[in-house]
């Protein structure tokens, strides 16, 4: 045996190839994931002559192993000897690209696309393109599906005769018998259009696009909508009307809601691609229809685009179009029967105020905002509140404050803690916009009530909220309004509330500064070190560690140190642990 006399490397390698055949999937998977290590150890030549043929021939395996293999091979170029030899990787990847399981196939195609860039133009024609052709004319649909993703990567770098062949293959696949293949072709139509010469785009792609957009299966038609964006971007403006618009109009009126949904979903992209004139003449009425669609899914998708669509309207006629065409539809959506539609609208509607200006906002939009603030669905109200900043810039928030308050109060007490959490997160923003007086008067009690919420996540968020408020309103405000209340909770019979005091102190000490921390907070913390609940005591240790840096060394030595030392001898091991940790972090030992 060669391995016996000195060449240590050969022994494990052989066994490793054996490992690739191990009965246990997990072990095979492990070996495959370390394939690059194996290849590295084998050296480039043996990787090419032994490892790759082995992988190509003998691996029939579970999809998980194949997936790992497909991924590995995409990074193998250097391991087989660089770009010169990269085509050696094609055979295993080719068979992986024909596998049934989609994730494996997709990964193989991804790797093929990656290594196609490393082929020289000659190799691309000699090795890569024939592979694409073989896949494109494979018997089973999987290989044809994979081929769809490879045309665009080799097209730009091959000779014109090969280009013609590639176009022909793509045409064939667009008309494939199997819907899966047509879907794959339709999804790559946009990508392929981008690498094609303009003449061929007009002569070849448009007819394919039209055919796919009127496919019998809606799952194919809706993919053509995506391609529509790329195609329209590539074509000169004067050709759009004849080449693209008939198909797009048809898609916007398709009998399947999935296709109409896709149009709504891609509306902003489409709008940019077709330009202002077509937008005015065609897209505005189409958009109105989508906003009034009979399916809630479509209306919601369209409602999501209201702001973007209006923003991108040509400036000269923007206001007029919005006021006469879009706003009436929007008004209806405010009282839609479906909450997803309303909440989609609520997430963008505030954005209209910047576009329409102060007067229009007050006259037309404000009633809608107010209506949505009173909506029965919390998500709608939340979406309005979370976008208040847009309105604030235009008309100031005071206009809304009367309606805002009940809405906020109701959300603050919502049964779902996630809703409560969401409104807490907007508090600092609201506080900034409403001003300190309004806040003290109306919202302060809410913020304090959250501190004793039943859900920890809310108490935690409330603590963090206080910190942000102090950053906004300053230490003096804190000292007068919240610190006394927070410290008062230290005497609460509920230990969870007592701990909340500690968490608040942790969060506030820095923002409040040394003076407040030393004079007001520290005594409370120290007093709590004798709490009967161990959780409180070890949180005292943690708090002391946290606020230590804010304190002066005198306070640390004379007040903190003795308490921590006492805690370090506590009967509870957690208390001991955290006390010792605090002592060492604060360097009090």
């Amino acid at each position: 045996m060669a391995g016996a006399d000195g060449d240590d490397s050969l022994y494990p390698i052989a066994v490793l190839i054996d490992e690739l055949r191990n009965e246990d999937v997990q072990l095979r998977l492990n070996s495959i994931k370390k394939l690059s290590t194996i290849a590295l150890a084998l050296g480039v030549e043996r990787t090419r002559t032994e490892l790759l043929p082995f992988l190509t021939d003998t691996i029939y395996d579970e999809d998980e192993v194949l997936l790992a293999l497909a991924e590995q091979l995409g990074n193998f170029t250097m391991l087989v000897g660089g770009p010169e030899y990269v085509h050696c990787l094609l055979p295993p990847l080719e068979s992986l690209a024909t596998v049934e399981e989609t994730v494996v196939r997709d990964k193989a195609v991804e790797s093929l696309r990656k290594i196609s860039q490393e082929h020289s133009p000659v190799d691309l024609e000699v090795h890569f393109e024939p592979l694409v052709k073989r896949l494109a004319s494979g018997d089973w649909f999987t290989s044809r599906t994979s081929a769809c993703g490879l045309f665009s990567v080799c097209y730009p770098r091959v000779s014109s005769t090969v280009k013609a062949e590639i176009r022909q293959h793509f045409r064939t696949l667009c008309a494939d018998d199997t819907p899966m293949v047509r879907r794959a072709a339709a999804s790559k139509l946009g990508e392929f259009s981008k690498v094609l010469e303009l003449d061929y785009l007009k002569s070849d792609i448009i007819s394919l696009f039209t055919a796919l957009a009127s496919d019998e299966q809606d799952s194919v038609r809706l993919l053509a909508v995506e391609a529509c964006v790329s195609i329209a971007t590539l074509l000169p403006q004067e050709d759009l009307e004849t080449l693209v618009m008939p198909t797009l109009r048809q898609a916007a009126e398709d009998k399947s809601w999935r296709v109409r949904y896709m149009v709504a979903d891609k509306f902003s992209e489409l709008q940019k691609a077709v330009g202002p004139e077509i937008t005015k003449n065609d897209l505005v009425p189409a958009f109105q229809n989508l906003l009034k669609d009979c399916e809630a899914e479509v209306r919601a998708a369209a409602a999501n685009k209201v702001k973007e669509f209006c923003e991108n309207l040509p400036e000269d006629s923007r206001e007029q179009i919005i006021m006469t065409h879009i706003l009436p539809c929007v008004k209806e959506l405010v009282s839609d029967t479906n909450q997803h539609v309303k909440s989609a609208l609520a997430s963008v509607i505030m954005g209209l105020s910047t576009i329409l200006g102060k007067d229009n906002t007050i006259e037309h939009l404000l009633p809608l905002f107010l209506a949505q603030l009173k909506d029965e669905c919390p998500e709608v109200r939340l979406n309005i509140i979370s976008n208040l900043d847009c309105v604030n810039e235009v008309i100031g928030i005071r206009q809304l404050s009367q309606s805002l308050l009940p809405a906020i109060v109701e959300l603050a007490e919502d049964a779902k803690w996630r809703v409560r959490l969401a409104i807490i997160e907007y508090m600092p923003l609201l506080a900034g916009q409403l001003g300190v007086e309004f806040f003290d008067e109306k919202l302060n009690t809410l913020c304090m009530a959250w501190l004793i919420d039943h859900v920890y996540a809310i108490r935690e968020a409330a603590t963090c909220n206080l910190m942000k408020l102090v950053e906004k309103f300053g230490a003096e405000w804190a000292q007068n309004t919240i610190v006394p209340k927070v410290l008062g909770m230290a005497n609460d019979p509920n230990y969870l509330h007592r701990m909340t005091t500690l968490f608040c102190i942790n969060a506030l000490s820095e923002a409040c500064g040394q003076d407040i921390t030393t004079k007001q907070m520290l005594p409370v913390v120290l007093k709590m070190s004798t709490d009967q609940v161990a959780n409180v005591r070890f949180n005292v240790a943690k708090s002391l560690q946290k606020i230590g840096p804010v304190l002066d060394s005198n306070a640390l030595q004379t007040e903190v140190k003795p308490v921590l030392e006492k805690l370090a001898t506590d009967t509870d091991m957690d208390v001991k642990y955290f006390a010792q940790e605090a002592i060492s972090v604060l360097a009090l030992a």
């Binding site: 045996m1 050969l10 390698i13 009998k255």
Partner: protein
Amino acid sequence: MSAISASEKVDGFTRKSMRKAQKQRKSQGSSQYRTQSAPVELSPLPQLKDAPSTEQQELFTQKLQQCCMLFDFLDSVTDLKSKEIKRATLNELVDYVSTNRGVLVESTYPEITNMICTNIFRTLPPSDNPDFDPEEDEPTLEASWPHVQLVYEFLLRFLENPDFQPSIAKRHIDQKFVLQLLELFDSEDPRERDFLKTILHRIYGKFLGLRAFIRKQINNIFLRFIYETEHFNGVAELLEILGSIINGFALPLKAEHKQFLMKVLIPLHTAKALALFHAQLAYCVVQFLEKDPTLTEPVIRGLLKFWPKTCSQKEVMFLGEIEEILDVIEPTQFKKIQEPLFKQISKCVANPHFQVAERALYFWNNEYILSLIEENIDKVLPIMFGSLYRISKEHWNPTIVALVYNVLKTLMEMNCTLFDELTSSYKADRQREKKKEQERDELWKKLDELRLSDSTLVQNNSHGLPGVQNNNNNNNNNNNNSNNNDNRDKSAEAAVTTENKDPDDSVAASESSPSAK
């Protein structure tokens, strides 16, 4: 705040069952997209049975046209009168085609199919419940069912009418018709799918020219379901139809049908919602195997390939299907797959989930399987022994332990000598496995070290060819090694038991008493 109970406040996530209880109302959906302008009010036509026979045909056509009017059923208050007229007319039409002879003259076919297409072919609405779980949730029912049901009924009676002529109808009931019909199988409404099932079955039976097309399209639906969307409500119904189609396949089976089995039916087992159609699927698979037993090996290998890794519920279903297959397996086929199959079964009996273990152990209650095992006991027992022996001592569930003892007893009776040999070598085998594991770890460690100094290695390895031979050498070597290990193991054994306090060993030593009880 007072309106909300504390418990609700604590747990914002209400349980699924609670949510459902709140949503007691049956949800309804329907989708008709601007197919026509607002419905015109219908006026009742005279009864067909009252009309003179010369005018009946004309009246029949008029009624069919009248029934092409569509109504909005989500709005339960509009067009009540017209809806009622249409319902009565449809009822009359159903009655007319099912009881009368000679009413299906050629000229009525286009009118009939037009009425059917207008009413039933529609894009199904988006699901009310985006994460609709067919096993848990109530389906959304078709709102226009009062009419649609009658139209389906009519279609069925039309197809079943003794005067029905496929040669005329095939101009209308064509590939496009079938394709739209198949898409409706995705309906959430089980009543609709049930009608569709019967109708498609009739069409398959009567239109020979459409059979291949129907099979191909079902193929496509399944492939899309498996590899693209994982969502299609009608899989069970389509499989049920296929079950009877497969039953009628001529022998020898065409390559197309075998491909369908291997590339569609077997991968269908990977679906998350397998429970919804597993019975139908297993029936189809067994049908195939009864037709052509030589398919047994690839089918079982396929099932083993897709064996569930984490879902115990599915694993139980797989085991059930394996038992169904074993019930019809030929002994020669059994020999071909016994090794991989029993490796899996041995993993199943050792499964910590007691339902999986129990399902696998039930195989030993099956007389036929038992006879197959007995015939091949020298192969099966060595595979099964390790797991059975181990769980007889380790499984947490007393029922499983009891079952395992019975199985061990049965196996022991089948070949006592082999059983004794395996018992006595068990410990040594386990240790050999452990040793192998260690060796593997060390190999990888070594390899990682090699990677660190790879630059020198690349040079060392440049003498290409000998590698393959080495490969073989090493394999042999390995075998030798493991033989040698046997000897060494014995000396090592004592050391291991004392030093390592290997838990398995101590268990094996101390727990021999329960087996005696």
